[in-house]
Symmetry: C2
Subunit: 367 residues, 2 copies
């Protein structure tokens, strides 16, 4: 029997939905389907997945659902570089090919890229249909599958096209992490560490103790960490679904990280790796302003290193980096705003800093 | 001084917004800008228009807004055949080229195609930014600019991709109808007649008296008709924004009409023309079921003819038509549902009809 962790409920303007955190549904043929079936309201299902995840978990899910539903599959290439309009069009084409209609439920089986694209396709097909998230990476379990941000990249900027669209449920099965490459597990840990840095110093201490167990794939410890992160995020999303305020804090490290990802080309640095290096840049700026001590920045660097994450951004010309920041969604009327740490466990969105200090932080990694 | 008709307010889940029905703001340089400026919250404006409307109304609006805002323009080709992803990408590219951000307001200056595409671009750029509708055709003034349906066509189906996204305000200037080709004025009248058929027989009588004045461009009578139609639609949208119930009735004639448009290729039949022929097909089916009399169908045909609208669908193979109907968003679990008339002024969404009668109606125009 699988060990079921407690789940939780996300409250949003459109509807409430559950996050079920569990184990071993992915390898027991029927149990993953049993978990999601109650949340499928029509008779049509399109499973969207990628070439990496499909051989692992697709056939069991597809077969079990086929007993109750008309099931079709759309397998996309794997990678952030495919998070684009062409992939969305493949999903639309699959939906149109089978005359699927407003009753269809899309199921995202994969990581954050699959989840974001499937969610945006669900948001925009026939002006909105249902979808379910089955995140199979740590990153998507703790971050992208919760809160309804969906979207794709524009050639000039990450996540520039998208919608807020909430799933009917999220099924996070810890055992899928057993097939996740170690580098991607680390990338997911970057977002886990992020919650600690912006919201809860006690969780940072917990992580300093438990990170080795998580990296050794102790599913119970992973489940506990995922549950905590989802609860942090659900609380924030309930307060500020459309990111007009507090939700922006979840993007800690992301403005710096987006510069790295955009400059290096999508897919070369993993999102979580770019966020890790970006969080340390944000922490360094916080320290230069006088909010963090040198020791606290070192503590952040230590836990990132423990998680096998990069702590140094690649060389990017400072002016190029500033220009790339100009495309970030958090720019308000021309002034760059950043999420910085007032202290460990407390983030703020601010434009109240000396631009020279930002330049210094960026130029530390500059050519 | 322009004659201002009364405006009205649309109530939606996200926010309330005004529809201002007026005259002569489009030719007085500053007054159109004065009307919309209070609804622009940031400093950035992208005006989206097409090659036909741009020479008529763009420069006055652009110049006047430039005094207060950073204004950019995206001029798209004119026509339903350009209501596609490529045009949406042009809008995204224009927004990205100038580093526009979440503060931007998009202004749709044109007919329904421009309004639908600009609305969808606004719904999906950075997961949603503000937009304003300045509809310059009768069709868009009475229909597509009210209620927040936005979207584009998929090669296999009309309006298959889109979102519900409400504008900040709608400015309907009757004097823009002076530059509208007569054929397009008639196409707009199809939607005006639609409101009478589905909601208010007394309005049908009013139209039988006033249609000649409207076609002679009596702006006061046109303004009265637009106001009534917007009020009908605003009432329906307030009840059922996301079309789970009563709002579907506004699609009277559209399922049949979509078959015509899709089969003939977008842009050959105007949307209103297809709806006109489609409404008569729906009325004929209603008569075969026994809900309308032969005389009532003749009355519908008469007013459509008075408005210079087609009353006969082009020859389309019956099975092809049925297949095309299978792609319509109103299909629920495989069964074709249609909006039919229980009586003049009262529409219902139903699948409770003999499929043979539908085939008879379709085959009347069949090869």
């Amino acid at each position: 029997m699988p060990l079921f962790h407690d789940g939780l409920t996300v409250h949003t303007q459109s509807h409430d939905y559950p996050i079920v955190i569990t184990e071993n549904t992915a390898i027991d043929n029927n149990s993953m389907a049993k978990q999601v079936a109650p949340y499928i309201s029509g008779r049509q299902v399109l499973i969207v997945t990628n070439e990496t995840v499909a051989p692992l978990y697709l056939s069991a899910l597809e077969e079990a659902l086929t007993e109750q539903f008309t099931v079709r599959v759309c397998v996309l290439p794997d990678g952030e570089q495919y998070k684009n309009q062409a992939s969305i069009n493949q999903i639309y084409d699959a939906l149109m090919a089978d005359h699927f209609n407003r009753d269809v439920t899309l199921i995202a089986l994969g990581g954050g890229v699959i989840g974001d694209m499937t969610g945006f396709a669900a948001a925009s097909f026939m002006r909105g249909v249902n979808f379910i998230q089955i995140p199979t990476t740590l990153l998507s379990q703790v971050d992208s599958s919760v809160g309804g941000k969906t979207g794709i990249n524009h050639p000039q900027g990450k996540n520039m096209i998208g919608a807020f669209w909430q799933p009917q449920m999220v099924l996070a099965d810890m055992s899928t992490l057993k097939t996740l490459p170690a580098r991607e597990l680390s990338a997911g840990l970057a977002e886990v560490i992020k919650y600690a840095l912006i919201m809860d110093e006690a969780f940072l201490t917990w992580l300093e103790e438990n990170l080795p167990a998580m990296m050794a794939l102790d599913l119970a410890v992973l489940g506990e960490a995922v549950k905590r992160c989802c609860q942090y995020k659900a609380d924030v999303v309930a307060q500020d679904e459309r990111e007009s305020g507090v939700r922006a804090l979840l993007n800690f490290g992301h403005t710096f990280g987006h510069v790295i990802e955009t400059h290096q080309g999508y897919g070369n640095w993993l999102h979580g790796e770019a966020v890790a290096a970006g969080m340390l840049q944000a922490a360094e700026l916080s320290q230069k302003i006088g909010w963090l001590t040198v020791e606290e920045v070192a503590r952040i660097k230590r836990i990132l290193t423990l998680a096998n994450l990069p702590t140094t951004a690649p060389p990017i010309d400072t002016q190029t980096a500033l220009n790339l920041m100009g495309h970030d969604k958090k720019v308000k009327q021309g002034q760059i705003r950043l999420i910085l740490l007032k202290s460990l466990g407390k983030a703020v969105l601010t434009d109240d800093f000396d631009a020279q200090l930002l330049t210094e932080v960026l130029s530390q990694q500059s050519v």
